[in-house]
């Protein structure tokens, strides 16, 4: 069989192939290849643009926000220059206060004191009050300034605030990551651990990790037999089971979570059933919610379909003949199951586990509603800093650490198991 190209090809003077319209074959092929690539790219382009706009760019912005630090350097440049002279011991001299007075007065004029005060308040308590209050008076201050600053707010009498202005007077900062890892700066700008009663985030990351692993394990424990049954039953019965798995999956997350509240609370269905059946006394009702137990129960239920579906789709493709062959060769039922069947389900276990784990590590709404305090996860604190404390830099740092953590875990998983072994269907 001959190809079209060979049919029309002739040989040119240099011995290279040329096409019917007289162009070198090589160039012609390249052009055709390029056109194919462009068309292929055009197919992908909408998704790529969408991903860029809605995913990559926001994540980049979020990561940038965790180090961004523009306020001090842009509003207080002269103060920073004056602070260069200061050795960090005792209070700075008059020129620093003079520059600060001038720049605060200017910032007050164009309403930029607020953001600056907010930024400094992340580093030292009461800085917001000190700045906003002093800035209102700064326009009327006259030399010498130092005395008036000391009168205006107690904070101006402590070297710490000047140390912080000097340290954070750079366009980028590490201080959000320092706080996010339960560390702080000491007097000599060394990074040290926070005092015990202020360490919170590292423990919370560990708790989040532990709870996610726990939920993954429980969903596997509950999901494996169900999937096995579904894969081995005749289609008619399997479909019924499938609907039971899918029905909650299709129900709104909020509805399911609030239903769990109805079930789990102290006067709720489960407690009332237990009291009614005489298992527990009326004064011994169990605390099933507003704690970690509540989060684990509700999240396990919500994430179960993410384990069952990949497991089922893999088990469905495993030929029953393999286990029968193992049995006929003398394997006990346990050996046949454990050495022949289970290894073939590994891609499904892997896919289900990765799905459940990654979804649960960033879970937010269920812990917020049924978790109380001990059932909170790191996402709840990220939301807290986004919405309540409004420390977006810290929220971004916490989020970035979570993202990097998940990527590292995925990388480790890939090294140990191999991502190509994932099978979602």
């Amino acid at each position: 069989m001959t190809t079209g190209v060979q049919d029309v090809a002739e040989t040119d003077a240099q011995g290279g192939m040329i096409t019917a319209d007289g162009k070198p074959l090589k160039a012609s092929l390249q052009r055709a290849e390029r056109r194919r690539k462009i068309i292929a790219f055009l197919f992908v382009a909408p998704l790529l643009t969408y991903l860029m706009i809605s995913f990559i760019v926001p994540i980049g912005q979020m990561m940038f926000r965790s180090v961004e630090n523009p306020h001090i350097i842009s509003i207080l440049p002269k103060t920073l220059a004056a602070l260069d002279e200061w050795d960090g011991q005792g209070l700075p001299d008059e020129p620093v206060y003079a520059a600060l007075a001038e720049e605060l007065a200017a910032a007050q004029e164009d309403r930029r004191v607020g953001p600056l005060a907010v930024r400094l308040n992340y580093e030292i308590s009461a800085a917001r009050g000190a700045l906003t209050r002093t800035a209102r008076q700064a326009g009327n201050m006259e030399a010498p300034f130092k005395e008036q600053f000391l009168d205006a707010h107690r904070l101006w009498g402590s070297p710490e605030i000047f140390r912080i202005i000097k340290r954070e007077g750079r366009p980028l900062t590490a201080s959000y990551y320092v706080s996010a890892l339960d560390r702080t700066y000491d007097e000599n700008n060394n990074i040290v651990r926070q005092p015990e009663n202020r360490r919170i985030y590292v423990d919370l990351y560990m708790r989040t990790l532990g709870m996610s692993l726990g939920i993954t394990f429980i969903t596997l424990l509950l999901g494996f037999p169900i999937s096995f049954l579904m894969a081995s039953l005749p289609m008619r019965h399997a479909n019924l089971l499938m609907i039971l798995v899918l029905l909650p999956f299709w129900t709104s997350l909020l509805v399911r979570t609030t239903s769990w509240i109805v079930l789990l609370q102290q006067q709720g269905v489960i407690n009332s059933l237990l009291v009614g059946a005489g298992f527990i006394g009326d004064d011994g009702r169990l605390s099933l919610m507003h704690n970690m137990t509540g989060t684990m129960i509700a999240m396990t239920h919500i994430l179960l379909p993410f384990m069952v579906l990949p497991l089922y789709s893999v088990m469905k493709t495993i030929p029953p003949a393999y286990v029968r062959a193992a049995r006929s060769l003398g394997a006990t039922p346990w050996t046949a199951f454990w050495r022949v069947y289970v290894p073939q389900t590994l891609p499904g276990i892997g896919a289900g586990a990765v799905l459940v784990f990654i979804i649960s590590i960033g879970y937010y709404i269920t812990p917020a509603l049924v978790g109380g305090q001990s059932g909170q996860m790191i996402s709840n604190l990220i939301a807290y800093h986004m919405q309540t404390s409004l420390n977006w830099g810290l929220a971004a740092a916490l989020g970035t650490i979570l993202l990097v953590g998940v990527l590292i875990l995925y990388w480790a998983y890939n090294r140990l198991v191999g991502a190509e072994n994932l099978k979602l269907g």
Binding site: R111, R112, V113, G114, P115, A117, V118, N121, Y122, S125, A126, R128, G129, T132, N197, R198, R199, I200, D203, L204, Q265, Q266, Q267, G268, H290, G372, Q373, S374, Q376, L381, Y384, M386, Q387, T388, S389, L390
Partner: protein, 368 residues
């Protein structure tokens, strides 16, 4: 086919733009008003929004229950350069922060607000200290401890903040708001500090330790709420025997829904709440609405629907009966002398100065 239709769209939108410039006054205006939701928003709808829309049919008011995160929302919208909120109901300390950051408008009170019926200018009529640079108060409310009467024997009902901290005589879980403001004050109050001295004590590190130590005594019985609607819900479900909450919501649940709730007025935490105006597109319409909605009669009207006190002195005599129940509202007001025997007036300056540090410590304390 395509080209003419594009032309039609272009021409018609050009006409629309031209006419928009001409008929300003009757142009439909949609005002997004952000508030706290629940019974509170409902009282605003009935006292302000509905009558105003009836008188100004071209205005449509849309409610947004975003006030719990109002400061974050305002900041995000102003940073994104896309302000969609026209009027926001928020707390005075948050309003001061937003004002300092330049994301809401300073208010010239006497120019923008209606005088009292007797001609007293607005700045004299609103309760002393309640007006802010960018803030127009509407109500005086209080956060109070409430209990479910069914959860204690009829002859041993609690009646003080001390009882709230007394697990031996009054067992059961308690719900408190997941913020330090109010809770630290109560802890010190229950620990024997006079209401007048609370903020002096709380300014010292020892005072803060003392407050947290007192909270520690009931910590393993505590649940934390975030939204105002949660506290009546938790009490109604008997999930807790006590809850702190906003007095108006408790009133609504007890009187309108008939829940067996009893307010402990001892140590009520008194605070203002009111309007701020972001730099949006509908400022003119908002100002017209504000002038109307904050006059003496209108503020008194809100008290027909919820037990929050009006923020104007001239409104107080106008407060009457509940619109649906016909009960006298005065006895349910935080400021009624029968209720106002040991109030703690929330110190916004204190919370502006020390709030961040205490919020962080409180968050840590909650999670540990």
């Amino acid at each position: 086919m395509k080209k003419p239709s594009f032309k039609v769209i272009g021409v018609s939108s050009a006409i629309a733009m031209l006419t928009a410039g001409v008929v300003m006054a009757n142009d439909p205006v949609r005002l997004t008003v952000v508030s706290w939701g629940g019974a509170y928003t409902q009282s605003q709808v009935r006292a302000y929004h509905e009558p105003y829309m009836a008188a100004n049919p071209h205005v449509q008011i849309i409610n947004d229950d975003g006030s719990a995160n109002a400061l974050a929302g305002l900041r995000a919208q102003s940073q994104a350069g896309n302000v969609t909120w026209d009027l926001v109901d928020m707390l005075p300390s948050d309003a001061q922060l937003a004002c300092d950051e330049g994301i809401i408008m300073p208010i010239d009170h006497d120019a923008v607000l209606a005088p009292a019926p007797d001609g007293t200018p607005a700045s004299q009529d609103f309760l002393p200290g309640s007006l802010g640079e960018c803030f127009i108060p509407q109500i005086v409310y209080s956060t109070v401890v409430t209990y479910n009467t069914e959860m204690f024997p009829a002859d041993a009902q609690p009646n003080s903040i001390d009882d709230f901290f007394n697990l031996d005589e009054f067992p059961g879980r308690r719900a408190i708001q997941n913020r330090p403001a109010g809770n630290l004050e109560w802890a010190l109050f229950a620990d024997g500090v006079d209401p007048a001295d609370i903020y002096d004590v709380l300014e010292t590190p020892e005072g803060v330790d003392r407050a947290f130590a007192k909270l520690d005594t009931i910590k393993d019985q505590l649940i934390f709420w975030t939204e105002g609607a949660q506290s009546p819900q938790l009490l109604a479900d008997q999930e807790v025997s006590f809850s702190t909450g906003y007095n108006g919501r408790i009133f609504d649940a007890a009187e309108v829904e008939g829940q067996p709730f009893e307010i402990i007025w001892d140590g009520q935490i008194v605070e203002w709440d009111g309007w701020v105006v972001p730099y949006g597109d509908n400022v003119e319409a908002v100002m017209d609405y504000l002038y109307w909605a904050t006059d003496s009669q209108r503020l008194a009207d809100q008290a027909k629907y919820i037990s929050y006190g009006p923020a104007r002195a001239s409104s107080a005599p106008l407060v009457g009966e509940h619109a649906d129940l016909g009960i006298d509202m005065n006895q349910h007001m935080p400021g009624n002398p029968d209720n106002f025997f040991s109030p703690i007036v929330l110190d916004n300056d204190f919370w502006t100065d020390y709030g961040d540090e205490l919020r962080e410590r409180f968050a840590n304390w909650m999670l540990q």
